[in-house]
Symmetry: C2
Subunit: 305 residues, 2 copies
């Protein structure tokens, strides 16, 4: 099945304690789409300026991503972000942000996109996510990502959105902030109370948690020795998770467990190099191999349901 | 097989944002022994003053713990600790500490203890841990726990101890501090480099990591909604892990994986009530039931080694 992904597309400058790179392909929709394309057909919805490098558009094309929903604003400038990671790679600071064409982004879906069965509402303003949702028909499963900015500045719009989606995905600190509780177990349950049938809390180097009514799954993180660039890991996770669901075509807690692991597998690859460089060389057998590693590192006893 | 446990035995005053209790049974050896006793015969080595309540000695006896190694100092006062947990229960501050009889503790093992096959060197000064080690013969497996205090004040003694033990167990922050690295994967490997064949890094609410040469296992944490008192969770974890190993009588990476889960199971029970109250009512079938829950919450696919 097809997967529609909406979110930001940008040009990033990224600095880590070891390296610094400029004019990288970035943005939540870029990371999510490239990752999801390993699993299912992807339809990208986003906006860029005329300055958006042709080579980046070609990267999307090379992975078979449908760009009918990619709007190019004449004389416009592409969204730009610049950030720096501190020495432990768990914390980062935004050095500069220029919304540019993203400031007036109001996604209008191409007609052929409106019946896409699976939809990932990447991290953009909740009002825009709702706007996309309102254009859809026959959609079977929608997952929304979000960030602290919207929890702080658009809380009621975000809660309104959560009533309308099937799943929500956010970081541990964001889940705590939105639900106003310190226990992640309670936070997950409260997210379900807001509306979604599934809630996913990402814990970075500690893996992630999946919640459904009376169901719980805890996914480990892959033990990487070196992380080169954490940018986009959460978006790659969300994109791959949704891509896997689209490839299976059936939504259940059992399928979601595996989807969460595929999300973790892909995120673990993505942080091995800057921007989307690692995904450009990634081959299908490597994905299966690491998926099996996740089984090996977390298995301790035979299970008999 | 029998398990020898050495460590502190104390009287604690514990405060959380919700409750406050005084004169509780505490200390690393108390927690570890009570927990281990659910799996194997335990020999306790420690020191208390004449003020140590008879009811607490009875608690040990009720669980069949051998107290031949428990020294009672006439007119001495028992070690006392007082601490307070902050509202998120992940941080605590020590309000007061009185070493009392513990200040001159120099454990001398009863003759019949010297051939105990498994030994847990609970968190005391590395020099004392080495002193215990020097009295042992025919010991098959020794695990040492430690804490930030010794990393900061007795680093060379601690590194000397690590050359002589089979396994080491510490918190994530302590592992980072000792190995001077931020990556927990690198920290675990560096701990092995110091000497032990196995290294265990406890991550609190995020579970724990087990390292051996070219082997890795990641254990989840149990999703508790309410934590009443985190005191002693790490000691219960270590005691149960060693108790399980003693019950199996065979040391391998496969057995250690399960041991780590039993450690997590017992720690998850212990934090449900103050001091050792939960372990006093705990029944064997509850342990097996929660062990199975750990399988359910972390299983995502069949494994075929």
């Amino acid at each position: 099945m097809s997967l529609l992904i909406v979110g930001s597309i940008g040009i990033d400058d990224v600095k880590t304690p070891m390296e610094s790179h400029k004019n990288l392909l970035g943005g939540s929709a870029s990371y999510a789409s490239m990752a999801a394309s390993f699993f299912s057909p992807v339809r990208l919805v986003g906006v860029v300026g005329e300055d958006f490098p042709v080579k980046y558009r070609e990267l999307f094309r090379a992975r078979g991503i449908d760009l009918a929903g990619l709007k190019i604003i004449k004389k416009g400038k592409t969204f730009r972000w610049s950030g720096e990671y501190l020495w432990d790679m768990n914390q980062r600071k935004t050095l500069s942000i220029k919304l540019n064409v993203f400031e007036r982004f109001k996604p209008a879906l191409p007609r052929e996109y409106k019946a896409t069965p699976l939809v990932l509402l990447g991290n953009i303003a909740p009002a825009l996510q709702s706007h996309v949702l309102s254009q859809l028909s026959q959609t079977r499963f929608v997952m929304a990502d979000t960030m602290d900015l919207w929890i702080e500045t658009a809380r009621s719009e975000l809660l309104g959105l959560l009533r309308k989606v099937d799943a929500v995905c956010m970081n541990d600190s964001e889940a705590r902030e939105l639900t106003k509780t310190t226990s992640l177990v309670k936070a997950g349950q409260k997210l379900l109370f807001y509306g979604p049938k599934f809630a996913i809390i990402k814990k970075g180097e500690h893996g992630c948690l999946l919640f459904a009514k009376n169901r719980f799954f805890t996914a480990p993180a892959y033990p990487l020795e070196d992380i080169h660039d954490p940018t986009g890991a959460g978006d790659v996770f969300a994109g791959s998770l949704m891509g896997y669901l689209a490839s299976v075509g059936e939504i259940s807690f059992e399928v979601l467990r595996k989807a969460v692991i595929y999300g973790s597998v892909m995120a673990s690859f993505n942080v091995e190099a800057f921007s989307l460089n690692r995904l450009q060389t990634l081959r299908q057998p490597e994905i299966e191999e690491r998926y099996n590693s996740f089984k090996v590192i977390s298995h301790f006893d035979d299970i008999d349901f």
